[in-house]
Symmetry: C2
Subunit: 204 residues, 2 copies
């Protein structure tokens, strides 16, 4: 017989450049476009600094535009398939607000701004997060065109979120977001996938 020693602690750290980048923005960000530019800026810098995939996200107070948290893709860097930009931004926002529910009574409405439409996992995470709005840059088809997969996400994903009280805004600065993905693909940026296959597998 054998006994198991198992790890019971896991930590995620955004790259050091993130805080610096964010500090360079004048807050709050009032328009959805400005908020998206921050998310795309994070995605771009993540590629440039070689700290992860071409995806960035941020959580704002929906009405005031106060920034609550950001995330970038850390799947490779943190050796964790769950570490999509959206997941990290949501987790850090909840830590900031000290609640697992960003729709808890007494706190302002929150929104998630993401440089690309969510994969199946991040889609499923949204109803539990408490965000009131989702703002998306590039479309799923833009993400898939360069080889990433979105996973088993329903075709009517926007309607399903809206049925749960989450409003969805798509195509915000889509051209910029799409350009970043295209360049990443053209430059031969790594596209990881379970099973070590070359194509497919959303880095989020």
């Amino acid at each position: 017989m054998g006994h198991s020693m198992i790890s019971t602690v896991i930590q995620f750290s955004l790259p050091a450049w993130v805080a610096e980048l964010v500090a360079g923005w004048r807050m709050p960000l009032e328009s959805a476009e400005d908020r998206m530019r921050l998310a795309i800026g994070l995605a771009k810098e993540n590629v440039k600094r070689q700290t992860g995939g071409p995806f960035g996200a941020a959580v704002f107070e929906r009405d005031s535009g106060v920034l609550v948290a950001v995330g970038v893709n850390l799947v490779v860097a943190s050796q964790c398939s769950i570490a999509h930009a959206e997941m990290l931004a949501l987790a850090l926002a909840q830590a900031n607000r000290r609640t697992f529910d960003l729709a808890a009574p007494g706190i302002p409405a929150h929104e998630l701004v993401t440089s690309a439409e969510p994969c199946a996992m991040c889609f499923g995470a949204l109803p539990w997060s408490g965000v009131a709005r989702l703002v998306c840059g590039a479309r799923s088809e833009d993400v898939e065109r360069i080889g990433f997969e979105e996973g088993p996400k329903p075709v009517a994903w926007v309607e399903q979120l809206e049925a749960r009280g989450i409003s969805v805004l798509t195509d915000v600065c889509r051209d910029d977001a799409q350009r970043l993905l295209r360049r990443y693909g053209e430059a031969g940026g790594t596209i990881y996938n379970p099973g070590g296959r070359r194509r497919g597998g959303h880095l989020g």
Copy 2:
């Protein structure tokens, strides 16, 4: 104008009793039923110790039954809606194996054993994780019967996983898993949900 100071680090720690509980099991666990008993045991103890919801999970090497990682629901304790048992078990397994892909070349096939069928988020996380098999105890309907939601998960979720090469085994020790959920519901166990609503919202 204002500048933002944002948090960039987040950590999840399983409760201290987890390592002790796991050390009490003779490893490896050869049958799916024994592996499920561990997952259900974790869920039970999580309720008993008041460290979280009635959900437990574990990642094993599929063929040898060697335990790689475990998880329990920590949504409330860690103030994070993402901290479902399955997500923590997957993240800790990948940390243990030092890869974001449990199907990476050169490592054995892995499986996720969970005391209850996955919610929409955990379902979406499975294809990215690299697990080759999913083993479930209680059914989604058992989970929903006590007020938790499973989220926007497709009806044909088993088929969708199998189409992606993940085999699915359901109803393993379902009676035991279901009994735990029923008792939790009868005892008035907390059932959280975004927006502070009393019912719904899967603690995972």
